[in-house]
Each structure stands twice: as structure tokens, then as C-alpha cells.
């Protein structure tokens, strides 16, 4: 049974068909790649899944539940988390606090009870925050304001913040943008570990070495439409994809 299903999803901005009749099926446990030239509708797809704006038409089903009526914060509580293409941290909070405010999953709520959910509640969650900071290589930076972190650290913190919501599905919007080869290697390891812990991954990415190496399945967008889908090997061999990337330009 599919974890997430997009059924002929469209989103138009005025005359621009940012996403145009997109069908997508993501199975639990997959690392699913979404690629395509700039402006092909990848970020819009992520925004639609998290509910930042309504669909023009179509529907999105997550774990058999139609997401249409759910506002963004409730979609998170069903288990969908994301990172942003342009990092959006809480700059004046510390790295530690950035993870603290993200612990909104039903499991964390149940653990804390009403008052400590809102007010105190450091004790039950400290350990998980420490683990996540450790996982992201940020343990030594926990008291630093997010705004003062280096670019690569900010990207890692944003990923950790998404994980702090205990997602079943995590949407990563170009997580490797601006990273060097070594950092991309570390990111690759992290993505594999995230999947190993049972979280499904939708990876939007430009960096081909990462997408091709880590994904189980890839869909290719061009002008809001899916032009190909398959395993990395199949997609690389696809004529339409080659044309979109070589002819369509970046």
C-alpha cells in the first residue's frame, strides 16, 4: 500500500502551470527522487504536499487519508516533515531550541502531558535532542544561535529539526545545494540512516551523483509534468530526460 499518493495534482499561479497533472506513488521505506530542471515544479510539489497553498485540482492521499482539509501543522502531526530549499531556521533561537520547538509529534505530546507540553518538558525530551544533535554533528554547537552557524551546519540543523518531528515521510528540498563533495558524502550517509530507521524519503535534488547513488526510484519533472519515472538506471537512459536536461537548459 502506498504511503503517499498524488492523483493528477495541479497547481497554477496565474498563467503558470507550476505543477500540471502530476501522478506520484511513494511506497513506505523508499528513497524516492524527484528531479528536473529549475522551475519545473519540484518545490511547488513539496509545498503542496505540506499544504502551504491549496491544490488547483487533484488530490493528495497520505496513509489512506485525504490531506486536502488538513492545515500544514496537522499534516506534520500525521507524519510529514520537510526542509526548505532556502534554509528557514529560527535564527534567534539556539540550535537546541530549534529542535525543542519542533517536537510536536503525537508521541511527544503524549509523553509530556498538557502542561509540560507547552511549558517545561525538558526532561523527557533532552535525550532525543542530544541524539539528534549528535547525529547531525552539531552536539558542540547546541547553545549557538542558529543564525550564527555556518552554512553547512545550518543545513544539518534544518534536517535535524525536521527529524525532531518524528516524521514517517520526510521531504528534502535540494539538501545538497551549496555543499562540497565531502559534505555530500556525509549527507548521503545520513539519508541512508534515516531510511534505515523506518522513515520514507522524498529527495528533491539537482546533484546527480547523490540522487543516482541513493534513490530507489526517480520521477523527472519538466514544466510541471512528469516526463519519466523509473529506477535510476532506467531514468538515466531515458531519451526525454536527456533532452530536458541537455536541451531544456538550467
Amino acid at each position: 500500500m502506498a504511503l503517499l499518493e498524488l492523483k493528477s495534482v495541479s497547481r497554477h499561479f496565474g498563467g503558470v502551470r507550476a505543477v500540471d497533472g502530476l501522478d506520484l506513488v511513494i511506497e513506505p521505506g523508499q528513497i524516492f527522487g524527484l528531479i528536473g530542471p529549475n522551475g519545473s515544479g519540484k518545490s511547488t510539489t513539496v509545498n503542496l504536499i505540506t499544504g502551504l497553498f491549496p491544490l488547483t485540482s487533484g488530490s493528495i492521499v497520505f496513509q489512506n487519508e485525504d490531506l486536502e482539509k488538513l492545515p500544514t501543522h496537522l499534516r506534520l502531526q500525521t507524519g510529514i516533515a520537510r526542509t526548505f530549499q532556502n534554509i528557514r531556521l529560527f535564527g534567534q533561537l539556539t540550535a537546541w531550541q530549534n529542535l525543542w520547538v519542533a517536537q510536536n509529534s503525537p508521541a511527544d505530546w503524549a509523553k509530556r502531558g498538557f502542561f509540560s507540553r507547552w511549558l517545561g518538558g525538558q526532561s523527557g525530551v533532552r535525550e532525543e535532542i542530544s541524539q539528534l544533535l549528535e547525529f547531525s554533528g552539531l552536539a558542540h554547537r547546541q547553545d549557538e544561535l542558529a543564525a550564527n552557524l555556518a552554512f553547512g551546519e545550518q543545513r544539518r540543523l534544518e534536517l535535524a529539526r525536521a527529524l525532531a518531528t518524528r516524521p514517517k515521510l520526510i521531504l528534502l528540498d535540494e539538501p545538497a545545494a551549496g555543499m562540497n563533495t565531502e559534505e555530500i558524502g556525509q549527507l548521503r550517509e545520513r539519508i541512508l540512516k534515516i531510511r534505515a530507521q523506518g522513515t520514507t524519503v522524498l529527495l528533491v535534488e539537482h546533484v546527480m551523483e547523490l540522487v543516482m547513488g541513493v534513490t530507489d526510484r526517480i520521477a523527472v519533472l519538466n514544466f510541471g509534468q512528469k516526463i519519466a519515472e523509473g529506477t535510476p538506471v532506467e531514468v538515466q537512459a531515458d531519451a526525454a530526460v536527456r533532452k530536458a536536461y541537455l536541451g531544456g537548459g538550467e
Binding site: 502531526q77 516533515a81 526548505f84 529560527f90 534567534q92 539556539t94 520547538v101 519542533a102 525538558q122 525536521a162
Partner: protein
Amino acid sequence: MDFYFGLAQIIGVHTLLGLSAYIVLLTGQVSMAQAGFFAVGAYAAGMLTVLAGWAILPALAASSLLGAAVACAVGFPALRVKGLMLVIATLAFGEAVRLFFFNFDYQVARGGVKLGPLGGEGFRQIRYFPENGWTTMQVMLFIWIFVVLVMAILWWLDRSRYGAVLRAVGEDELAAQSVGINLTAVKVSAMTIGGAIAGLGGGIYAHYTTHIEHASFGILLATFALAYPILGGLGSVFGTVVAAIFVQGFLVEGLRFLGDWRNLLFGALIVLAMNLRPKGFLDAPTLRWIRRVFGGKRGAA
């Protein structure tokens, strides 16, 4: 000496007003409604002690609750709009409250005299403190007990997870939603707490001045409410009290000989301060410095 006690009373009440705006500002909302909640609290508490014969503490509790209820009711529709539109919506609310009290008559005969709000004439003879023989110093101390109490509660809230969530919403609503934060719940609750503080401050104000009228609760008061946390900075509650002392103690009282020119100076000061210290007198680096010098504690920011 009474002059200084009186000044301390004014500063105390204005600090409460500033704190009511402080918590709302943390969520990134610029509210001009705080003077309205303050007015509601002032009239409610005054009517309870004068007309209903309540003691001061239950009257203040009631004015605080009423302020919270009104703020909560205003919060739901008002917080759907943002930025400048929110300023205008809350300003309109504040003016509506003022006009309501301009037209509000509710007088009851007590021992041969008619007491209670009388429209444009205002509400005179809120004489709970003099009737019960409180000295100016006692009233001043009474006020500052509340100021310290509210500051302590807000300081603690600020350090709780709720405080971090407020600041997260203030920084980036989109990111906050995306990590599962319910924007409406956060903004309306902050507004409600702010309304409770403003209602309390208004209730106290009515009793130490003994005479309130609609004109005191206009745009100038709403501007003061915002000016304290903005001048003082949103780093902690202490900025607000420092700014209230500076504005009321120095600008308004100390420069009284300048007459209405003070208001001009006040405007110029805000412009200057926002340019020189965009994050307020007590911004985060200054607070860290103070902590380092006086606390010796690790600057956890």
C-alpha cells in the same frame, strides 16, 4: 517624597502595559489594541469596587480575566491579518473601545451621590484606596508587587518551551507551521495573556488616579504600550521596565518644563533608538554582556 511615589506608580502601571505588548510582540504581532484592553480593565475594576462594593483584589482578578476574554475574542479574527493590516485592525478596536466608554453611562446612587461612568465626563470618585486609608507609598508598593509578579511569570514563560515557540512564530511563521506549530493557538494565547496583563494594569490605574475618562485610553497610550518593549528590546522582560522608567521618569516627568514639546522628543527618540539600536536598549548581545559581568554564568543566550 509623595511625588516620587506617585511617579513610581505611573511607571509601574506603564510597565504592565508594556509587558502586555511585549508577549504579543514576541509572536511578531504589532498590536495597537493594548490600550483598549487596559481601558476595559480600568472601567470594570472601578465599577466593581465603587458600585458593587468589591474589595480590590477580587476586582483586579475580574478586570484581568475580562481583559483576557476580550483579547481572546479580538485575537481570533484580528490575527488572521498580518503586518500593517493588523496594526490598523487593532487600532480600530482600540478606538471603538474608547468611543464605547465615551458614550457609556451607568450611574447608581450611593449615599445621596450618583457614582459610576458618565460618558464624556468620565468615571470619577474611584476612591477605594483613600477610603481605606492607604498611603501613596502603600499603593506604590502594592502596584510594584504586581509588576514584579508579572515580570517573574513572563520571565519564566520566556524560558519555557512556550516562550521558544512564541519566538519561533515571531521569526518565521511558515517554518513554524512546517514543524507542526499551530499558529492560531500560539498567537491567540499570547494575545490572551497580554489582555490579562493589560486588564490588570488598567484596573490598578483606575484606582490610583481615582478618575478615568475615555481620552486617557487613546492612540498615545497604545503607542506607549508598544514603545516600551520596542525601545527596551525583546531580549527579556527587563528591557520593557527599563524603557518605562526612562520614558515616564525621564522624558515625561524630568522634561516636564518642555511642555508638549516632549511628545516631539518622544517621537524623535523612537526614530533615533530604532536606528541606533534596532533590537532595543537591552538587545541579546548586551544581555549576554550583563550576564557575563554580573552573573559569571555561561551565556546560554
